[in-house]
């Protein structure tokens, strides 16, 4: 399977803003944030279509989200995941001594994983935090 080196940006989208008001456990929220907006030319390189699951990996972790064709402008080499629990599996937690992690411009590798599923929120939380002693 082909891989692609990209820069990962995370941020707000209007869909995420609306969906969070319907509750973070809603399917609407998952659909609006467990998604990676990719430039059409990059999608061609990877040989994928919209809604194909893609794995985004950085030095800090990896997460599977669905691919979506970016509808605005061309930005080859830059992918965008809206703020949320999925994006935060892979952002750079280093604060460089000022308290602020790097949520934007994180080098990442993109790889299509057609067989895999995008995790539900409960599953994602369980996998990242474990069962724990008290839970």
């Amino acid at each position: 399977m082909r891989k692609l080196k990209v820069y990962l940006l995370t941020g707000r989208t209007i869909e995420q803003g609306k969906a969070k008001e319907f509750g973070k456990t809603s399917n609407l929220y998952k659909d609006s944030v467990a998604v990676c907006y990719i430039d059409p030319s990059d999608m061609k390189t990877l040989g994928i279509k919209s809604n194909t699951p893609v794995k985004v990996s950085t030095d800090f972790g990896s997460v599977v989200v669905r691919a979506e064709k970016s509808s605005r402008g061309s930005h080859p080499g830059v992918v965008y995941i809206p703020y949320g629990p999925w994006a935060n599996q892979v952002v750079d937690p280093e604060t460089h001594g000022i308290g602020m992690p790097s949520f934007k411009g994180v080098p990442a590798v993109l790889e299509p994983v057609p067989g895999e599923k995008v995790k539900e929120i409960e599953e994602l939380l369980r996998d990242s935090f474990g069962e724990g002693s008290k839970r």
Binding site: Y7, L9, T10, G11, R12, T13, I14, G17, K18, A19, K20, E21, F22, G23, K24, T25, S26, F60, G61, S70, R72, G73, S74, H75, V78, Y80, Y83, G84, P85, N88, Q89, V91, D92, P93, T95, H96, G97, I98, G99, M100, P101, S102, F103, K104, G105, I121, E122, L125, S128, F129, G132, K134, R135
Partner: protein, 477 residues
């Protein structure tokens, strides 16, 4: 049906104060003037809110009375040596004040969401200073509006329409007309090329218009909108001029603009992939305006350089003020994040990341900021108010929060409340409770109560006051 006018929208830092809400049977049934996000909030708030507080017993969250939940929270906080009190940007100033009192009482860390948002901007403003203003000034006077690393269409949907380019100011006309003209121009071009394609029976390709400055200057009547961003956002689509920079190169571009504004020559052909000619045109545009405003978003604070990017932006505006009048303002996200900074500052002297563990307030972002403390695993309990750090912090930082006892005061069900030990479903400030909030330009506004909250959902301020009373009772036992 009751009609309530001039309601303030508790969603983003724009705090639109012209919302009309229709209430029937203690439920909001219709709203007017809101953006998509505000509408979603007013019409769908509290869909999943639990009717009573929850306490985790044997690994499961079970319903409990408010008194039980208050007692359990006070126990967690008094047993803890180094608790974190985090959130505060989506609640009222009154609740934040009680939160600070609680932090001082238990000797914890108190931090607000600006730590992962405009924290670097605050550090930079403390270094460089900021020439700013209120949004009303800009609505009536600004003739050049720049959004840098910010997408108000998504994060502050009515910002452009209410305060900047698309608002009809006393001295500045709205930019609607030129936008519509440009849009029709594009449509005509698209249709003509489609006709040409059908006649010629082949696909026509046009070179992409990149870095082309439009053939007009500020001397035209209507105000101008410039967007600088790493990708073409929805805001960029309505802009008169869009400059696309590569990720992590804002610092270079800002410094290059400073040189040009200061009449220095750039002895290169391009800076971070942008031709110097384009930057010269942009610098000319900035100098030729009567009153310019640079709004910067977290595009600057979250990418490489962080506070230094903001340093460069503030310095650019300082340099521009030698030539014309220019102002700058951060685009604050949550509706009361500015209020959190203000209340923190007047109570402790510092805007965020305040450590009370020595009995007096200490401030050293990087050491006393919440993400650093969580990553070092130093805290042993957490209280989160109106925020969702489990979703919004890097996973490695959120893990410490989840591993320790966690109290959550939030009307919404969030990943943070799902991982908590005590959950207080509270009333929505601005819908079910009154409160004060600060707009992004530091104008305080009084949020209204339009409906009654459910019986077991108290406002954040009241819940915090009860916890504080219980903590004091235990400590002075």
């Amino acid at each position: 049906m009751r009609k309530i006018e001039n309601v303030i929208c508790p969603v983003c830092g724009s705090l639109c104060d012209d919302i009309t809400v229709y209430v029937e049977d203690n439920r909001v049934v219709e709203v007017e003037n809101t953006c998509a996000v505000g509408r979603a909030k007013f019409l769908n708030y509290g869909l999943h809110r639990k009717p009573k507080p929850l306490i985790r017993k044997n690994g499961e969250l079970k319903e409990a009375s408010i008194e039980e939940a208050v007692r359990r929270s006070a126990e967690i906080l008094t047993e803890s040596k180094y608790p974190i009190l985090y959130g505060w940007s989506s609640t009222s100033c009154e609740a934040i004040r009680v939160g600070l009192e609680l932090a001082e009482e238990i000797g914890g860390i108190i931090d607000n969401t600006s730590t992962v948002c405009h924290g670097p901007s605050i550090l930079s403003i403390q270094d460089v200073g900021i020439p700013s203003c209120t949004l009303g000034q800009l609505r009536h006077r600004a003739d050049l509006v720049i959004y840098w690393g910010s997408d108000p269409y998504s994060a502050h949907p009515r910002h452009i329409e209410r305060y900047t380019v698309f608002s009809e100011g006393r001295f500045q006309k709205s930019g609607w007309r030129s936008f519509i003209r440009r849009l029709s121009g594009k449509l005509v071009k698209k249709r003509l090329s489609r006709v040409a394609e059908l006649i010629l029976r082949r696909k026509l390709t046009f070179p992409e218009e990149k870095y082309a400055l439009p053939p007009y200057f500020i001397s035209e009547e209507e105000r101008k909108l410039v967007v600088v961003d790493v990708r073409k956002t929805r805001t960029a689509e309505v802009a008169d001029y869009f400059l696309q920079v590569k990720p992590n190169t804002d610092y270079e571009v800002l410094q290059a603009l400073r040189m040009l504004v200061n009449d220095q020559d750039l002895e290169v052909d391009e800076v971070a992939g942008i031709p110097v000619k384009t930057l010269e045109d942009l610098a000319d545009l900035m100098i030729s305006c009567d009153l310019g405003i640079l709004f910067f978003g977290v595009g600057l604070t979250m990418s490489k350089g962080k506070l230094r990017n903001v340093d460069a932006a503030l310095s650019l505006v300082r340099d521009l003020n030698k030539r014309t009048k220019f102002l700058i303002m951060p685009m604050r996200g949550h509706y009361n994040v500015t209020g959190a900074n203000v209340v923190f500052t007047w109570q402790t002297g510092y805007p965020y990341a305040v450590d009370f563990s020595l009995g007096y307030p200490r401030y050293n972002p990087g050491e006393t900021s919440v993400v650093d403390i969580l990553r070092r695993g130093e805290c042993d309990a957490g209280l989160v108010v109106a925020s969702d750090p489990v979703s919004n912090f890097p996973a490695s930082a959120a893990k410490t929060l989840v591993d320790n006892p966690l109290i959550v005061i939030d009307p919404d069900v969030t990943p943070t409340s799902m991982m908590a030990d005590v959950v207080f479903p509270s009333a929505y400030i601005g819908i079910e409770a009154e409160g004060t909030a600060y707009r992004m330009d530091h104008v305080p506004l009084r949020l209204k109560k339009v409906v009654e909250p459910p019986p077991n959902c108290l406002p954040d301020q009241e819940i915090l006051a009860r916890i504080l009373r219980e903590v004091r009772r235990i400590r002075r036992g």
